[in-house]
Symmetry: C2
Subunit: 307 residues, 2 copies
């Protein structure tokens, strides 16, 4: 298995200034795997859904080429449901409801084929569960962890323990400041890398992403889009493109990581142009390549002519 | 005269998490000219100060190489004074006091030598006054305008009229959204450019800057600094480096504008490392060149290896 992504599959209800949808296919593992499978063939999803999960959504995931051996259906409850509303400029959102449902008792068990995963993506779950997943994989090349303010607040010890076992952390800028308890993002990054992950990616939404490694800081812009419909899943889609690119090339050096950030940003830019993961269903290799080239052009500084 | 900057010279009282200073030399024209004079020899400042303006500050400006023929002293009042406090992460600030003092009756008169300025920088003042300054210049190569939410709210007609007469507008992202009444920054940029300025620079603080022209969008990161002491004046310093670079090369094509954004960003990154304009006093050509090269490295995407 090239990539195994553990996380959520959800039913989302989303309001943006451009419309509202109920019961949209969502969840971190959904976006991540739907993006990653453009880069490698074997992408496995580990998550749980409930008895209400629509069959067409199951088919949509399968038709996308995502391996569903790790997706279990818990007939005792309903699917994890999230309801949120984005504000005027799409940079802030209010969570209106979070119904954990079957997620509350989710304790992922990896199918044997998944235990030799090359890249493991630990979606935003209880850090104790993230660690139990790590206990089940043999010798992954690269482990990526996602987390959020809830776990930073409520399970800081388990989170720090998990961070000590991963290669890469992907979080947003507010979470990075909170995790390090340090307002300066650059100092926060150093402190977080000292907790374990060699590689840190800080997502900044419409402002792009920063990559930190031992040797370098790299800044990638967000793609300037006129037609953003729904930012839901952008971060997970970024992670999917990032992990997918790394898995496809199989190297984890600085240049490879920078390229992976650009591919992740490109995939995220497609995601936000439609509601839910809609746009992740029908991309072409050419469309992805073109957008990645546009990213390069966007931030390329011409050879400097000194005054 | 290479550059004439009309704006404010102020006495600032600044609180940041790293300290507090009273009566610091400040004002938009101060920061702008102190940055610009690294690039060209003839930089003229048009502003007013009051009877309380300290002689050492006057000397500091003069010693920096700024031409003070356009700086008048109004003995009937005190210097424009601003007091502000930055919050925890330095991204937000509260204005605690604004005493216009002699600025309230300021009606700039350009000395004859200034009327042939190659580049005119119209600092954040009443758009009617900005236009009266434009009436006094003969055939400038490039006119740059700065504004703020107050003028967007209170004098929208005069502002739009002024925008129709300039080549370039430099504002921050919140002001851009407000001016265009459009939450999407890319669409806002198109609408603002349709109001007059061919070139639009949107400043995003710690997230860098975006350049919009007819042909292109260019994204420049902010420099990742661990030692930010005081963000005051960063935007005006950016404008000074931007205008200074353009004046030094004398061309206004897309590549030149991109380079100017990088030089402006580099100058702003120096500014925020010390309180007030302190760090703008003693930079070397080498330090500026090194930082500009670091900017290039920061966002350079390695040649893409497609998966």
């Amino acid at each position: 298995m090239d990539i195994v992504a553990v996380g959520t599959v959800a039913l989302d209800s989303i309001e943006t200034p451009f419309g509202a949808r109920d019961g949209v296919l969502g969840g971190s593992a959904t976006y991540l795997t739907m993006a990653a499978r453009y880069f490698v063939d074997e992408v496995g999803l580990v998550a749980v859904v409930g008895r209400d999960f629509p069959t067409p959504y199951m088919e949509r995931l399968r038709d996308s080429g995502v391996d569903l051996l790790g997706l279990t259906t818990d007939e005792d409850g309903d699917t994890f449901a999230w309801k949120g509303r984005y504000r005027y400029d799409l940079n802030d959102r209010d969570t209106l409801a979070t119904d954990l449902n079957v997620l509350a008792t989710f304790d992922p068990v990896l199918p044997p084929a998944y235990q030799k995963a090359r890249i493991v993506c630990l979606g935003n779950l209880d850090p104790a569960i993230q660690q139990r997943v790590l206990d089940q994989v043999e010798a992954p090349e690269f482990v990526i962890l996602d987390t959020m303010n809830f776990w930073i607040d409520h399970t800081p010890e388990a989170l720090v323990e998990a961070l000590g076992r991963v290669d890469c952390l992907i979080i947003n800028d507010a979470e990075a400041r909170q995790l390090a308890d340090e307002p300066n993002l650059i100092r926060a990054a150093s402190q977080i890398r000292a907790m374990g992950p060699d590689v840190l990616v800080i997502k900044k939404g419409e402002h792009g992403a920063l990559l930190f490694t031992e040797e370098t800081v790299f800044s990638a812009p967000a793609y300037p889009l006129e037609d953003i419909e729904d930012p839901t899943g952008a971060g997970d889609t970024f992670a999917g493109g990032f992990a997918g690119y790394l898995a496809s090339v199989g190297t984890y050096n600085v240049d490879g990581l920078k390229r992976a950030v650009v591919f992740g940003s490109a995939m995220a830019s497609f995601c936000v142009q439609r509601f839910g993961p809609e746009h992740l269903q029908d991309l072409t290799e050419e469309a992805i390549r073109d957008r990645v080239e546009a990213f390069r052009a966007l931030s390329a500084v011409p050879e400097l002519v000194l005054p």
